[in-house]
């Protein structure tokens, strides 16, 4: 086996086994910090040893065993250092690895602990990426443009709180499950969106690592909770959004609007998978399951990704879906997106009236001004359109978006 194969085996094991190793150690030792460090040490040992010894036949079991040993070593070291001179209470467990079912439950426990509502949202995101996703602290810091020391502190504080306040390591009760799952999905959607439309000057407009990570983790949740409609909905939404990524930013680094995207560049594999999930949820809805917001958003994206071009798009279907969404989530941002569908169906004049009603709530949101600018342009109100573009450019944080808005403004003539 050559060095490249071993490296690939380590990377694959990291992707497939990291969360499993951390999760099973956390259950065994009741300590996230210890589990994380021991898992990291086990992977470092794999990097050292596998090139000489070869990749073990069951990398997951090898990593779990090695991490268990590292954890016990650390407990012994620390109890000696503390002057307690007592042997670690936990004796080494030579039993074969746990059956897959039990280990999967551990990963679910880990996810619910990292996304616990007693933690701040940013902390949940960081902790989930570290403990479940296996990203390093510098990687997470870079992804969120935070200083490494600040990110390290955030994660350390979270682990300390989980331990001190005894945040439980378990899957919530059936009664609490829907709310807690929706909390987990919110974390994953935030990770996805931060990568999809990264904010901040000087950042790559589309960061591939975060969407890929969010999709990987959502797939994991989907595997663990296959009957949850919103999990399927969020996965479909992510896949159908990600499928359009190749067409979303031009070679010149400018955002490309949906109407102008080269639909041939969309990823047909991701679209097919997303459509399969949406069909699965449509069947469930036909059988009486009320779809949640991610499922409706996925359905809207399925309509877009089924159309050959902008004109071919079934806008009445999209508007009907937005009407359902508004009933579920009366947020002004949803209303703004609904207005965009209204413009395609009933013309910019009707849409403009709907958009103007949102001014109080959305005056600080760049997409509100960008939408107005576009509608005003279509209504031939160039002067007002230019002012709206100016505001949108002022407020937009994404470099590709700023470039796009600037060009549209300068084309007003």
């Amino acid at each position: 086996m050559n060095a490249a194969d071993v490296r690939e085996a380590v990377t694959r094991a990291h992707h497939e086994e990291w969360a499993r190793v951390v999760a099973s150690l956390t259950r065994r030792f009741g300590d996230l910090d210890l589990a994380e460090e021991a898992a990291a040490e086990a992977f470092a040992t794999a990097v050292e040893r596998w090139p000489a010894d070869g990749v073990p036949p069951n990398p997951g079991a090898w990593l779990t065993t090695t991490a268990n040993r590292k954890a016990i070593d650390r407990i012994r070291r620390e109890s000696k250092r503390d002057g307690k001179h007592r042997e670690a209470q936990i004796v080494f467990d030579d039993d074969p690895p746990e059956p897959v079912g039990a280990i999967d439950d551990d990963r679910l426990r880990l996810i619910f602990t990292c996304c616990h509502p007693a933690l701040a949202m940013e902390t949940r995101v960081a902790l989930t990426l570290r403990m479940v996703g296996g990203l390093t602290v510098p990687e997470i810091a870079r992804a969120f443009l935070a200083r490494e020391t600040a990110m390290e502190r955030r994660i350390t504080r979270a682990k300390a709180k989980i331990k001190a306040a005894r945040v439980p390591y378990r899957v919530p009760s059936a009664e609490d499950l829907p709310a807690r799952v929706s909390g987990v999905l919110a974390v994953l959607y935030l990770v996805f969106n931060e990568g999809y439309l990264a904010t901040g000057p000087g950042t790559d407009p589309v960061r591939r690592d975060l969407p890929a990570e969010a999709i990987r983790l959502t797939r994991l949740i989907r595997a663990l909770l296959p009957d949850d409609g919103e999990v399927a909905g969020l996965l479909a939404l992510m896949l159908l959004t990600e499928a359009r990524r190749p067409a979303r930013v031009s070679a010149g680094g400018e955002l490309v609007a949906l109407a102008e995207q080269d639909r041939g560049a969309w990823d047909t594999g991701l679209i097919a998978e997303g459509h399969r999930l949406v069909r699965e949820r449509l069947a469930a809805a036909a059988a009486g399951a009320a779809p949640g917001r991610y499922q409706i958003l996925a359905a809207i994206n399925a309509v877009h990704t089924s159309a050959r071009d902008m004109r071919d798009t079934d806008w009445s279907q999209i508007l009907a879906l937005y009407d359902r969404l508004v009933r579920l989530d009366p947020s002004p941002i949803i209303a703004l997106n609904r207005a965009i569908a209204v413009a395609e169906l009933d013309g910019p004049q009707v849409a403009m009236a709907a958009v103007d009603r949102l001014e109080d709530e959305l005056a600080g949101y760049h997409a509100y001004h960008a939408t107005r600018a576009d509608l005003l342009r279509r209504l031939g109100r160039g002067h007002e359109s230019r002012a709206a573009y100016d505001k949108a450019i002022d407020l937009a944080g994404n470099t590709a978006e700023t470039a796009y808005l600037t060009r549209r403004r300068d084309q007003l003539g």
């Binding site: 616990h116 509502p117 007693a118 001190a164 306040a165 005894r166 945040v167 439980p168 919530p172 609490d176």
Partner: protein
């Protein structure tokens, strides 16, 4: 696991004053379910005295150690197996007291 459960009131927007019967009933339940360790309402912060004897001589100062709009109006000590149980009870307590609640673990 023990938690200090603080009832937070707000001087500019105080909670309602008719909660005592409901709180008593809630306390009965805490006792019956094995969560109750201690409970007590506190007198106004004006009644507090801060004592500092770290220096040469003891210094008494009138009033609370920190003046703020929000203040501690009462405390519970609860026994609960984990934070989820404590938070669920605290959510009920907040409704019953008509005030914010802070849950903080003992070491």
């Amino acid at each position: 696991m023990r938690y200090l459960v603080s009832v937070i009131d707000d001087k500019s927007n105080p909670g309602s004053t008719d909660r005592q019967p409901a709180i008593s009933a809630f306390n009965e339940r805490l006792i019956a379910e094995g969560h109750w360790v201690f409970a007590g309402g506190l007198a106004d912060t004006d009644a507090a005295t801060v004592v500092d004897n770290r220096g040469e001589q003891v210094v008494f100062s009138d009033g609370p150690f920190v003046e703020s709009k929000e203040y501690l109006a009462g405390v519970w000590v609860w026994e609960a197996p984990d934070l989820d149980v404590a938070l669920k009870l605290a959510a009920e307590a907040s409704k019953i007291c008509d005030r914010k609640i802070e849950v903080r673990p003992f070491l």
